[in-house]
C-alpha cells in the first residue's frame, strides 16, 4: 500500500514529464529502428515487392498478418478502459488512460502495416476520391480512421474530466461510442477475410465474433503487461485486486476464444468434405506448429489466470505474453492458411512471380508453407513495431497519462 500512496502523491505533481535514463534509451532505440524500417520500406518501393516473400498465389503476407494482429491488440485496451465507464461500473484503478494510449499506438501501427503493404502508397488519396463504399476494405479504412480519432477524443476527454472541464455524463457518452466503434473495428477487419467466398478457411460467419474475442484476449494481455511494468517502475499505482480481476477476465476471454476455435474446426471438419482438408492442413500440415503452439499457449495462460496460487505477477506477465503470442500464431494460421490450399490446381507457367518457392519446382511449391517472409519484410515489420514503441514511450514521457486521484 505504501507503494500506492507514494505513486498517488507523485501523480499530483504538476509536471506531466516523466521518466529517466531508461525511457530515454528506449525512445532512442525505437527511433533508430523506426528510421531503419523507413529506409527498408524505401528499398522495397524502389526495388520492387519482388524482394518480399509474397507472390501471386500467396498475395498477402507478414504485413497483413501484423495488421490483423495489431487491430486486435488495439481494441482490447479501449474496451478494458471504456466498459467500466460506459456501464458505470467500478473500474480497474487508474489504468484507463494508459490502456487507451496503448490502444492508440496499436491503431497507428495497424494503419502503418496497411501502408507498407500497398504497392502504390502514393495513390492513397484515391481512397477518399474514388471510394467504393461496397468494399470491406473501404469500411475498414473508415472505421479504423473513426476509431483512431475517437480514441484520441476519449483520451483527451478523460484528461479534461479530471480537470473538471468535461462532465462525467459526456465522458460516459464518449465511452459508449468508443466501445461500439471498438467492436465494429474488429468485426469489419474480420469481414475483409470472412466475406470472401474464395478461401474456405476465411469464409465463416464466426470470423467476426471470433476476431472480437481474440482482440479481447490480446488487448487485455497487453494492458496487463503494460500496467504491471508501469507499476513496477512506479509510474502508476494499481491494486493487486484489480490486476487479479484483469487476469481472471483474461482467462475467461482465452476460453471463449478457444471455444470459438473448437466450434469452427468441428463445423468445418464434420461433413468430411473440403472443410476436412482445411482442418487437416491446420492440425497436421505445415501450419501445425502454429496451431498447437496457439492451443498450448492459450491453455497455459488460462491455467495461470484461473488457479489462485499461480496468480503471481511474474506468472501473470508470462501468461499475458503467452496469450499475445498465441493470438499472433492464430493470425499467421488464418492468413497463410487461407492461401495454403488452392481452389484450382496450378499447372503450368509456374514462374518467379506466381509462387514463393518456384525455384524448387512444383514439389517445392506444394511442400511446406506456401509463404515465408524475407529478411526485408521482417526488417520492415520490426521498423513499424518500433514506431509503435516510440509512440508508446513518448506518450509515457510527455502525456498526462498518470492516474490523478480516484477513478469514477
Amino acid at each position: 500500500m505504501s507503494e500506492n500512496t507514494s505513486a498517488a502523491k507523485a501523480a499530483k505533481a504538476p509536471a506531466a514529464r516523466y521518466g529517466g535514463k531508461g525511457l530515454n534509451i528506449a525512445i532512442g532505440v525505437c527511433a533508430l529502428l523506426a528510421v531503419c524500417g523507413v529506409a527498408l520500406w524505401i528499398v522495397q518501393l524502389t526495388g520492387g515487392m519482388v524482394q518480399t516473400g509474397m507472390r501471386n498465389l500467396d498475395s498477402w503476407g507478414a504485413y497483413i498478418t501484423m495488421f490483423m494482429f495489431l487491430v486486435g491488440l488495439s481494441a482490447g485496451g479501449l474496451i478494458i478502459s471504456s466498459v467500466p465507464k460506459a456501464f458505470g461500473m467500478k473500474g480497474f484503478g487508474g489504468i484507463s488512460k494508459v490502456a487507451v494510449w496503448t490502444s492508440i499506438c496499436c491503431t497507428v501501427l495497424a494503419i502503418g502495416f496497411v501502408v507498407v503493404d500497398m504497392g502504390q502508397p502514393f495513390r492513397v488519396w484515391e481512397l477518399f476520391i474514388y471510394s467504393n463504399l461496397g468494399s470491406p476494405l473501404m469500411w475498414d479504412i473508415i472505421v479504423l480512421g473513426t476509431y483512431l480519432i475517437l480514441s484520441i477524443v476519449y483520451l483527451w476527454a478523460q484528461v479534461r474530466a479530471e480537470a473538471g472541464k468535461v462532465s462525467h455524463t459526456a465522458l460516459r457518452v464518449i465511452a459508449v461510442v468508443a466501445l461500439v466503434c471498438a467492436v465494429l473495428v474488429h468485426s469489419v477487419t474480420a469481414w475483409i477475410f470472412g466475406l470472401q467466398q474464395s478461401h474456405e478457411l476465411w469464409h465463416t460467419a464466426l470470423l467476426g465474433p471470433w476476431f472480437v474475442s481474440s482482440a479481447l484476449v490480446c488487448g487485455t494481455a497487453l494492458v496487463l503487461v503494460v500496467v504491471i511494468a508501469l507499476r513496477r517502475v512506479g509510474y502508476l499505482a494499481v491494486d493487486q485486486a484489480n490486476v487479479e480481476k484483469l487476469a481472471k477476465m483474461l482467462g475467461a476471454f482465452v476460453c471463449v476464444d478457444l471455444y470459438f476455435f473448437g466450434c469452427d474446426l468441428l463445423t468445418s471438419a464434420f461433413p468430411n468434405g473440403s472443410g476436412a482438408e482445411v482442418v487437416a492442413m491446420l492440425v497436421a500440415g505445415p501450419l501445425a506448429p502454429f496451431f498447437w503452439g496457439e492451443i498450448v499457449l492459450c491453455v497455459a495462460c488460462a491455467v495461470v489466470c484461473f488457479v489462485p496460487s499461480l496468480r503471481k505477477n511474474g506468472l501473470i506477465v508470462a501468461a499475458s505474453v503467452a496469450a499475445i503470442v498465441g493470438i499472433l500464431f492464430k493470425r499467421i494460421q488464418l492468413l497463410v492458411g487461407g492461401f495454403q490450399i488452392p481452389n484450382l490446381d496450378y499447372a503450368s507457367a509456374l514462374t518467379p512471380m506466381a509462387a514463393t518457392n518456384w525455384d524448387a519446382g512444383m514439389a517445392g511449391v506444394y511442400q511446406g508453407l506456401v509463404y515465408a517472409p524475407t529478411m526485408l519484410e521482417l526488417g520492415i515489420v520490426l521498423g513499424v513495431v518500433a514506431l509503435g514503441g516510440l509512440l508508446l514511450c513518448l506518450g509515457l514521457k510527455y502525456l498526462p497519462l498518470k492516474p490523478a486521484g480516484e477513478e469514477e
Partner: protein
Amino acid sequence: MHYGMAIDVTRCIGCHTCAVACKVANNLPNGIWWNRVLNDGGPVMDTASGVYPKNHLEYYPTSCQHCENPACVKVCPVGATYKDPETGIVRQDYDKCIGCRMCMAACPYTGVRSFNWEEPKFSVDFAVGDVDTPAHQKHVVEKCTFCYQRTSQGGTPACMELCPGRARFWGDLDDPGSEVSRLVREREYKQLLPERDTKPSVYYLV
C-alpha cells in the same frame, strides 16, 4: 451485350499456344501469364487423371472468368477493377490500382490475377503485340481483359485467333444467334467453381 467464351475441351490439345498468343498480344512482362493451361490430373503439367491403363487427360485453359457476379469488383476499395457496363468484361484500371491486392484475395480462381512485383521486364527491348495495349506498371494488379484493345474495335481475343485446335469460341452471350450462345445452348458444358456463385462467363464444352 455480355461477352463470353466457350472452350471446347474435346478439341483442346494442350499446346499452350493460347497462353503464348495472350502473352505476345498483350506484351506481358517476364514471369506474367494471364492465360494458363490446367489439366484434370493435378498440379503438374500434362498430367492425366485416373490409374493406368484407364487414364484420362483433359485440358482446361484458364484465365479471368469475367464473372457476372465478380468477387474482385465488389472488394476493390477504389473501383480500379470494374465491370464494363457495355460489354460485361471485367476490366482493370492500372492508373487507379493502389496495389492493395484485395481483388487477388477475393478471386476464387487461383492464379488468374497477377501483380507486377517488380518494374516490368521484357525479354526483348521493344514492345510487342497490339499497339493500344495499356503499358504495364510496377506494383499494380493485372489480368486477362478479353483483349479489350481488340474486342472493343470489333476484333476477337488473341487466344482464340491463334488456337490451332479451333477450340475457343467468343461472342455475345446475350445474342441468341451468336455461335457462343448456340454452343452453350446445345452442348453439355462445365464451369469452373460454380459453387462459388460468381457466375463465370467462360464455359467449358465437354
